[in-house]
């Protein structure tokens, strides 16, 4: 959109990765004079807002400077040799697939930092909290920015330790176990993934994702591709999470602090699906074709399973936890993303990438809202909240209730909001899957997935009815309505949800050429 010098673009992308790390180190040091603030706690939380704000600005400038006419070429690329012995290069770059994810990550982390500034997390010193948040941001941004398999793995692992500590130290009930489960599941997955990445890298003779995508699996035999896809796929599927490897997610979400949940759902889960699109689809297409029907089958099972679990939680008397419910709904939504990827068609993959972003925005918003609800009522238990008739949030705190209803309908995929396009395109892709994939099977998956959208609508509407509606007793204490800082943190998410819903071309225009290129082997 605007013309920015290439070396400035390179710097911006490198800054996105390295900036938060430097910020994390700075957060641990004592504040310099003049920036001490009212108290050390306040100073370090403000530091977090400043750094993530700078990163967000850099990401936005990067997006503006991105050549939107050629979203399929890698831009702002840096390529320096780091470890010649392993042939590992610091290869950074962004295209239409990763750019939206970079901006989403920068945005959500900034909003989280802003939220924590006004509402410091309950737990030990905020110093470590800010440092961990920044390391987390760096790892996530690096995952989307690097173009080297080993660096991808490094970035993938880098988020584990900060997330572990965020859950284990600032979380709620059952946090220690949830944090363990989170880290063990993802680690077991990622070690297997490492083996797959090494197999691809060693057999093909390069770890460079661009070179592998251009090669399009030609230098890998089908059997190598099958093994590699299985190994890497397991690692990514744990992270995504794909049914039946999802069982770490509900616990982690329930125990995590608000900020942790937002980032976990908003960006961490996307690392898994991004890996599918960026690595497996272009580098090992034959292997992926072998597993695509199974992936799609697991995906639709996930959709139905997630929805049914949510329905069960939303029932009266089920003692359902709202955070847990949203976590299960994530399993369903990520099912649509996986279904889209499994079709191996431009339509499906575009839908998957769209659904990725939409899920980040909407679920991020929902976790913020539920966190706010917990602050006010002290509980996220649906039965405690709703009592006999319903929590009557519309009456007690109309704006909060309205936003919750907005988040719920966006999540169920109401046309005109962001949630709609991704799921529709994913289903549409399944209607006509790529050559070599069984059409009847995918038609069945499509039908089941479509049924899943109905179930999704059902449980979300039940949640709205039980939390937002109901008879408010006259003497009931009014809840504090949306505070200004909450308003500031949530507005961008609401606005982007509407914009993406009404003007999907803004996103699809970016992803489509890049997806076309990846699927055709980078030689279009």
């Amino acid at each position: 959109m605007i013309d920015i010098n290439e070396s400035v673009m390179q710097f911006l992308l490198a800054f996105l990765v390295a900036g938060p790390l430097l910020g994390a180190v700075a957060a641990l040091l004592p504040a310099p004079p003049g920036l001490k603030g009212k108290s050390p706690e306040q100073a370090v939380l403000r530091h977090g807002v400043t750094v993530t704000g700078a990163i967000l600005v850099a990401a936005v400038v990067l997006a503006l400077g991105f050549d939107h006419d050629q979203p399929s070429t890698m831009q702002a690329t840096t390529d320096i040799s780091w470890i010649p012995a392993l042939d590992v290069r610091i290869h950074l770059g962004t295209d239409g697939i990763s750019l939206p994810l970079l901006v989403l990550t920068a945005l959500l982390t900034f909003l989280c930092a802003l939220h924590s500034y006004f509402k410091p997390p309950a737990g030990p010193s905020p110093k470590a909290f800010v440092a961990l948040l920044l390391v987390l941001e760096s790892g996530t941004l690096a995952t989307f920015a690097v173009l080297d398999l080993i660096l991808f793995f490094l970035a993938f692992e880098m988020v584990l330790i900060p997330m572990y500590f965020l859950i284990a130290r600032w979380g709620g009930e059952g946090r220690a176990e949830a944090a363990w489960r989170f880290i063990l599941y993802t680690l077991l997955g990622s070690v297997v993934m490492l083996l797959g990445l090494l197999l691809i890298g060693i057999t093909a003779g390069t770890f460079d994702m661009v070179a592998l995508a251009t090669d399009n699996g030609r230098s890998l035999t089908t059997s190598v591709q099958v093994i590699a896809v299985l190994a890497i796929g397991v690692g990514l599927a744990v992270k995504t999470p794909m049914w039946p490897l999802h069982s770490w997610l509900p616990d982690a979400h329930t125990a995590a602090p608000t900020v942790g949940s937002v980032l976990l759902a908003g960006v961490l889960l996307k690392m898994g699906t991004y890996g599918f699109v960026r690595i497996l689809l272009p580098a090992a297409p034959d292997g992926f074709r072998t597993f695509a029907p199974y992936l799609a089958a697991f995906a639709v099972v996930g959709i139905i399973y997630g929805s049914l679990a949510c329905l069960a939680l939303a029932r009266r008397g089920a003692k359902g936890d709202l955070k847990r419910l949203i976590a299960y709904s994530s399993v369903g939504h990520m099912g649509f993303v996986l279904l889209g990827i499994a079709t191996m068609t431009p339509t499906g993959v575009n839908g998957a990438l769209f659904a990725n972003i939409a899920h980040g925005l909407i679920t991020g918003l929902l976790f913020f809202l539920v966190g706010a609800l917990k602050d006010r009522t002290g509980s996220t238990d649906l039965d405690t909240l709703a009592e006999q008739t319903g929590a009557a949030l519309y009456g007690k705190a109309p704006r909060l209730g309205g936003l919750l209803a907005f988040g719920a309908v966006a999540s169920l995929g109401l046309p005109g909001l962001a949630g709609f396009w991704g799921e529709m395109l994913a289903l549409f892709g399944a209607f006509d899957p790529a050559d070599g994939l069984s059409r009847p099977a995918f038609l069945t998956f499509m039908a089941i997935g479509a049924f899943g959208t109905l179930l999704t609508a059902a449980y979300l509407l039940i949640v709205v009815r039980r939390v937002c509606m109901g008879a408010a007793p006259q003497d009931a204490p009014k809840l504090t309505d949306v505070r200004p800082y909450e308003f500031a943190a949530w507005t961008p998410l609401v606005v982007l949800t509407v914009v993406a819903g009404l003007w999907p071309k803004a996103l699809l225009g970016l992803t489509d050429p890049a997806v076309q290129q990846l699927l055709s082997g980078g030689t279009r």
Binding site: P84, A85, Y164, L198
Partner: protein
């Protein structure tokens, strides 16, 4: 007429020689130095080890050989090539760090550890360990191995009036001499079959051994390997490790965990890759199985340690070092299957250098905590961050390096090279076993790390930092962090010629 006297390249043999000479000087000086001045002996030894390490620098330019056969200059008993220098650096550097730990331990222990004997034994063992990677014939190899390990038995049992210490020494001694006897037997068989002790000649001649001697040669190979497997504490020769580590003074445990391992695996590499490449189909599968067993037993043993048991921190490090020995064996096993054996061996070297730095760092912190908490339980580390934040951060970093998880980037990459060696050699099953082990190991490393940052129970104990301990912790910390930023420093051994 050519002289029958071998010429000696003194520069090439300087590193082990300096260590040995300083050891003798310390032993003699001990007789004349007044009681109050005894700590000087420690500093003299540290200086000697530092000098020996520095003497590696002039050797970097080219490979040197000495003690060569007079008639045949290509066949030598002592070679300072790249492989030798790397291991010597690991051994001498590791000994230097352990010596720094010892200075404090000797001071704290009062008169229970005799200083002169301690330093003499310590330096002798280091000299033997430094000699071992350079030896290129089986006799020198065994002599070096024994020089490295005999003083170590004495060091383990040196603490006066400590039953546990003597018991550990006896366990260590008995199992070790058995292994040595077995490998001597094996070497004699190999000698009988080939008529030479020089490794390169053995490699040539063992390929066309007389048919009748074939069984003899094979038995010899297996028996020789068994002896060296013991030194790396490979399963099933690992049972002495936890008791020995707990009974020994802590710096000696640290020393054994790194230098003991280096001795074992460098001997193993020389015997397998240099002397017996033609028997790769025998030792390849054996080492692969050994590696898988060793890492599994070690990691499961470490996992089963209870945090509240006495000495559990040292026990955990001991078991984890058994597990790490398993990872070190993987590339050696892979060398049997791959076309480029040196590349695989390079992975072992890179891994060993990483392991040496961070494991000694972890032991240094354990020595520090052990000063305030005699029992050195893992539970004693709870809330370390509150009392000494920097030490806690470093220990966390060391443990994550051992686990192979960012921010311990060097640990991660060292594991990646080991995985790569296994995958490259087609040992997929071993890579998968190792993957499972990495996750098991992660549980206990991470549990320990998490404990450092928990809220302390009761009043936090302030740890006073003596200068030598600070130096050791700082040195290992700087090494670990520098390597994490530039892993190429150690990983380059995976793609350069070694021998």
């Amino acid at each position: 007429m050519s002289s029958l006297v071998q010429s000696v390249d003194w520069l090439a043999i300087a590193p082990p020689t300096i260590a040995a000479v300083v050891g003798l000087v310390v032993l003699v000086a001990d007789l004349f130095v007044a009681e109050a001045r005894k700590p000087l002996l420690g500093w003299l030894s540290v200086a000697g080890l530092a000098a020996a390490t520095l003497m590696l620098l002039p050797l970097l330019d080219a490979d040197r050989s000495t003690f060569c056969l007079v008639g045949d200059t290509g066949v030598c008993s002592y070679t300072a090539d790249r492989f030798t220098l790397v291991i010597q650096f690991l051994v001498l550097g590791g000994a230097l760090l352990s010596a720094l730990l010892s200075v404090t331990t000797l001071k704290d222990d009062g008169k229970r550890l005799p200083e002169g004997e301690y330093w003499f034994l310590f330096l002798s063992s280091a000299a033997g360990a430094a000699l071992l990677p350079a030896s290129r014939d089986l006799a020198t190899l065994v002599v070096a191995l024994e020089v490295a390990s005999l003083p170590a038995f004495a060091l383990v049992g040196l603490r006066h009036g400590d039953r546990k210490s003597s018991e550990a020494a006896l366990k260590f001694f008995l199992s070790s001499v058995t292994a040595t006897a077995v490998s001597l037997m094996g070497i004699s068989f190999v000698y009988a079959a080939t008529g030479t002790l020089h490794l390169t000649l053995v490699a040539e001649r063992i390929q066309d051994v007389d048919g009748q001697l074939h069984t003899l040669a094979q038995t010899g190979v297996v028996l020789t390997l068994v002896g060296f497997a013991f030194k790396t504490a490979a399963v099933p020769f690992h049972f002495w490790v936890p008791d020995t580590y707990v009974g020994a003074p802590l710096p000696i445990a640290a020393y054994l965990s790194v230098i003991g391992k280096a001795v074992g695996f460098s001997g193993l590499i020389l015997v397998t890759v240099v002397a017996l490449p033609s028997y790769a189909d025998v030792w390849g599968p054996a080492l692969a199985a050994l590696a898988a067993l060793t890492m599994t037993v070690g990691n499961v043993g470490a996992l089963r340690q209870q945090a509240t048991r006495a000495y559990s921190a040292v026990r955990l490090l001991a078991w984890s070092s058994v597990g790490q020995a398993g990872y070190l064996l993987v590339p050696i096993a892979a060398a049997a299957y791959s076309d480029d054996a040196e590349k695989s061996i390079g992975s072992t070297l890179a891994y060993a250098l990483m392991y040496g730095a961070v494991n000694l760092g972890a032991f240094a912190v354990a020595a520090l905590v052990g000063r305030a908490h005699r029992l050195n339980r893992v539970a004693d580390y709870r809330g370390l961050y509150a009392s000494s934040p920097l030490t806690a951060l470093l220990l966390g970093f060391f443990l994550l390096c051992l686990a192979g998880l960012p921010p311990g980037i060097i640990g991660l990459f060292a594991k990646v090279t080991v995985f790569a060696a296994a995958v490259d050699a087609g040992l997929g099953w071993l890579a998968v076993v190792m993957a499972v082990n990495v996750v098991i190991a992660l549980v206990y490393y991470l549990q320990w790390t998490a404990l450092l940052f928990r809220a302390p129970e009761g009043e936090p104990v302030r740890h006073r930092l003596p200068a030598p301990l600070t130096a050791a912790i700082a040195l290992t910390g700087v090494l670990g962090i520098a390597l994490s930023g530039a892993p190429q420093l150690v990983l380059r051994f995976t793609d350069t010629g070694l021998f």
